[in-house]
Amino acid sequence: MIKETLYIKAERNVKITKDKVLISDIGKVYCTDSGILSQVKALQILDIEKAEQKSQYVISILKIIEVVNQIFPQVTVVNLGETDVIVEIVKPKNIGRAEKIWYFIKVGFVCCICFFGTAFTIMAFHNDIGITSVFDNLYFLITGKEAMGITSLEVFYSLGLSAGIVVFYNHIGKKRITNDPTPIEVEMRIYEEDVDTAIVESNNREGNSIDVD
């Protein structure tokens, strides 16, 4: 019997809507023998109805290798992806009116925090540095006259402030200036990765992850 090699590229975080978790849900699988490949893909890792009810499970790659080798002892499994997979159970629910409104409220709430919070932050910063006296002083140094009311310095400062933040965040409305992800999008991914790592670590520490014995 020829020894086949099966390659798995496990994902870090997968969302499952069904009751059964198959190997094909965990990540990408490849094998030169297409017969083994299709059978392995259909192998079941976890039956949610029988398992302890949780909203997320952490499955070790060793468990997957064990499941594969029980059926195909001649197959060598090579994992090229993550060593622990977080399986999140997403109950398929029809999104009704109430959910939509609730979603809208949540988005509106966060929008308000972003708007007023940053407004407050920049005002606090201006207050901290005493921006009016800085401007008055600067205006006097440059023009030799006392600043009366609003000067051009303040107008251009505001323009610069707006331009700086638009360039920093890399988009005006929905229109992007360059194709790079915006800073908050980058932070969002980092945050998600941190959360996933924390979930895996705490599950491993408490021995809750699905692993070989």
Binding site: T118, F120, I122, F125, I142, G160, G164, K174, E187
Partner: protein, 138 residues
Amino acid sequence: MWISLFLLAIIGISSGAVVSGGVFTVLISVGLVPRFAGRTRTAKEVLKYENFVVAGTIFGGVLSIFQFKILFGFLFASVFGFFSGIFVGCLALSIAEMLDTIPVFSRRVKFKNLKLAINAVAIGKAVGSLVYFIKDYK
């Protein structure tokens, strides 16, 4: 006279750009907005949140530089206070967290009950800011 106007314009634009960049690098690096989006599970609205960050900054900046009087009344002031309070509260804790204050402390004194510690921080913050404002009010 034109030269000084030109100079003022250059200084104004460049200082404005650098200030907005600087202030918002802090906000970005503590990862406040992603946390809000993650907590409410609305990660796909991140662009919308950014737009409001931009709008809020411009609004606040213009308001505090030109000292415009916007007479929107008590309700607007309450809304402003409420949401900026949430923001600043989260900001302060995020900075503390970025410096690993709570983990370091809990490890040093072998204190395991993180939930209690966080609730204590929240209550402490509320009491502290109330004490501060009441003292000023007299």
